[in-house]
Symmetry: D2
Subunit: 304 residues, 4 copies
């Protein structure tokens, strides 16, 4: 498959949508990002790397980091993880606190904010230096030593993060957090502030595409079955209230972030990362989703 050519063809086809959507602007650091940036990179399991445009520019990966958090928790706790968080799609648009109140503090899945906080609470009680070990894992996964947290972003998010603070307090009220609310929130905003390029993201996700290879990075170790099951969770829960839509249009497991990044996987073939800051009303990158839809259409490769 001539992925380089396909990427270039895709880019031409999505240019008409370049001004659609609105970048996240709830904190200054995100509002300051140039909304016209675009990057896309494919990593194949046989070692190929294909990239276009600003695939070396780092951006705030935001919720994509929840995938890394889940990997660490599964490595540490195994199936026990699912005692404190579900793996069902969150469904309805009136999500978060309503669901949490009705289901007594058990988040629907590890990719909604509430679920990610519970996962991070597990890491906080299991690891000696959670922030350091988390970053180290991400660096090893993407083979890039300079990936870092952006503490301007994380602090800024904490200061205005009232909804997330409400969620964390609800979890604590329902006894689904062991650590203090403030500690969990800090860690949460910290991991969301990690900055990576499309190339780094694609490399990091290649490990999830290649389940036949043993997954072992910085002490985080997953079985082939665990890797497959993480893909299953990404498939049904990776795009908030647009998981079905993404599955329908693209047909690959993946995870999006409010910074405009999307990482996805074609199991046993490739990983792909795409970045464009303008978001649709559901909080997913407009050009990113378009690009991935074209990718599976042009290659005729989807899991279905």
């Amino acid at each position: 498959m001539d992925y380089q050519n396909i990427l270039e063809s895709i880019y031409k086809q999505i240019l008409p949508f370049a001004k659609e959507g609105k970048p996240a602007d709830y904190i200054p650091a995100l509002a300051a990002v140039n909304p016209d940036r675009f990057g896309m990179c494919i990593n194949t399991i046989d070692g190929g790397e294909f990239a276009i445009e600003q695939s070396d520019v780092r951006f705030s990966i935001q919720s994509i980091s929840k995938v890394f958090a889940l990997a660490m928790a599964l490595s540490l706790k195994g199936e026990e993880v699912w005692k404190r968080v579900g793996r069902e799609p969150s469904g309805t648009a009136f999500n978060s606190l309503v669901q949490l109140e009705i289901e007594h503090g058990l988040p629907r899945n590890p990719f909604i904010n509430a679920g990610a906080m519970v996962i991070l609470d597990m890491l906080l009680t299991s690891l000696d230096n959670p922030e350091e070990e988390f970053l180290n894992f991400v660096r090893k996964l993407s083979a890039s030593d300079t990936i870092s947290y952006n503490t301007v972003v994380s602090r800024s998010e904490r200061e205005t993060g009232y909804l997330n603070a409400a969620i964390a307090n609800m979890l604590k009220y329902h006894k689904n957090l062991d650590c203090e609310v403030e500690r969990v929130l800090q860690f949460y905003f910290m991991i969301c502030s990690i900055e990576m390029s499309c190339k780094e993201l694609a490399r990091a996700f290649l490990a999830f595409a290649n389940h036949k290879n043993h997954f072992e990075y910085a002490g985080v170790s997953l079985t082939s079955s665990q890797v497959k099951r993480m893909n299953a969770v990404m498939q049904t829960c990776g795009f908030y209230d647009e998981a079905g839509e993404f599955s329908y249009l693209v047909g690959l497991p993946g995870k999006s972030g409010v910074g405009g990044g999307i990482a996805a996987i074609y199991p046993s073939r490739y990983s792909v990362a795409v970045w464009s800051p303008r978001l649709n009303s559901k909080g997913n990158s407009v050009m990113g989703i378009k690009a991935l839809e074209l990718l599976t259409t042009e290659t005729e490769e989807s899991i279905f």
Copy 2:
């Protein structure tokens, strides 16, 4: 792959769970089914058929028929279908009417009852003899001319189907039904009453596994892309509030019915149907899910 051997090995492994769960008993006809029945059949795209136990015994396929209804609607209406029904998982356990009220009569997907009713309303306004044409399509799809509705079941369901009547009235109130409430309910309970064996179901679903083959049965015609997308919808929405769980454990698109049947697909490889009447608390067949989990584990074949 020696599927026959695998099926026999699976059967031995799931026998310990043979008495778990409780069959549907909300109408006499379902309560009268022998709960100890079991069947399982695989059809491969290269023409193989592998079956064990009572794979020739017909049972009430119930909600599995919603897949056939969606196929007909897509053939007739194309993407227009999605103007009146979503394709997102229904999510939360407090389902159906709450979601319908809050989202003003737009059902989340075509596999929840509300969504199926909207799909059937489309068929009713497009077809001359809806019941006849529907049955004809299913017969052609499974290459079996004797498949029939069970009108004892459908009438019995209509008489006690107050929740479904509430749903249909809500849809009508929100102007998402063109036909009369009663007409839609009749058709709904009719298609749910179809009886098929595991062998017939597996054959019918093979068409969805084999998207490279042109899908054309009794005038119902789908493109390769439409077949793939139907699989995507089954993946995220095929198991009500257990879609994530099924995706996690089994990793195949599929659809379950309250009669204890499950049909699933490994795209480009095989279709599989399994039947065991005892259900878990979410309304899915206990042994059926176990059997499919073992199938993807033993064959190491899943879409992820």
Copy 3:
């Protein structure tokens, strides 16, 4: 107190609001009512009657009839009534079906549609000729033999009453209706179609104002304590999602109807009925509420 003078003064003060709001038009019979009609009538417990404008013109009392239904049920069943219906305000605007689903078919109070249906179900199983006996009770209560059902209205409502049909089916599903859904709906729309004038309504409600007098009309008999408690239910639940607002502005127990009528009570003093078809966004008569607010302000009489 010179009520006649007060009524005339009120009328002048509310004239500026004469064109505010929108009359109910969901059925032809209601849409055909002249929206500029207005009537208001006070009956004092010492026998006075004070009326202005079109207080002799009959209109569709709609939900006001739920008060009469509750009186009959309390007379027949006493406190047992509260086993099948609550007496708490319905609260949130996303009412009816959501509440019913979450609270498993137990309606919040007898004045929301679901609650009234349960009350009517009780009457249907207890009375030989429910429609006849209900009408007879209302006639005796208002000392007017010509009060009647409007079957054009009731049939028209039944034909388009999908939301109410959904509610009745939900109640039946939760086993909170003994009679058939259709029978309950018929009776429900029948009692809502009763037509009365302001004079007749005021007279009918006087019995609820005068709890020291024995309540006994056409075999419907209530103790002093039961009459008081009916007032309490009207106070907290008589105005759907505007009960608090009405209590705040007017301070009297009462009940409104979508036909633009409101009946209210000053215990031990008077009853009052007002009618003006234009409704606010909550479904209550704009001029009616204004008029009652002015009444308690001008007379300085409220229960608080």
Copy 4:
């Protein structure tokens, strides 16, 4: 009316219920209260005081203090108060955060926790020394200079008050708090920690019973109409999800607290305070409600 005799008769009649219910124990200070305490005191507008049992013993008035907060806010802001908080009953049992999320941060009324926080936010932005001025107002109202905050209670509540922290954060997220979350929570728990005896509470509430007297205490000034309207709000919203029940059984406006206290008003006649720590499942004092029900039954005085 021989209130002293009536109180003594009531006490005898409620003794059989002395062990029913369970006192609040979510913080040590409340769990340490002797659950067998009981006090009841009536103050008539003509100057009488009638008390039985431990009517001089102070207890944590908790949510009853929300009435005082509303009085201060109305005095400072008038009708503007209602732009940021509703006056409708909260209704459904699935309360607080669900309602707040769906209605975008506008609390249903000033007596649910969310509403009280918004009221306190108004005081915080208007007063120089909010804690001092609030306490001063309560002292003047009850003519008792030694009433105080219990900072052991308030600190203890803050430490475990995760649900309230979630609520405050939701309000802040929806921009319905001007002050910092933490500041509002502190003030909230502070006013809830006030300790008063039944005698002091009855005296404080007498001002709300006597609307013909000018309401003016420590600079807090309300018109007769404002006092009446506060009673209306207490009537429909004073008992959380049991407002209808209390209205039905007792028929007086009032406010309960989780410390087991209830204060109520018979407008133009008397105020009454009762205290017994054991609570029913809705969080209201078992003996307290029984005692008030008997009071209105025996005196045949209720607002209806």
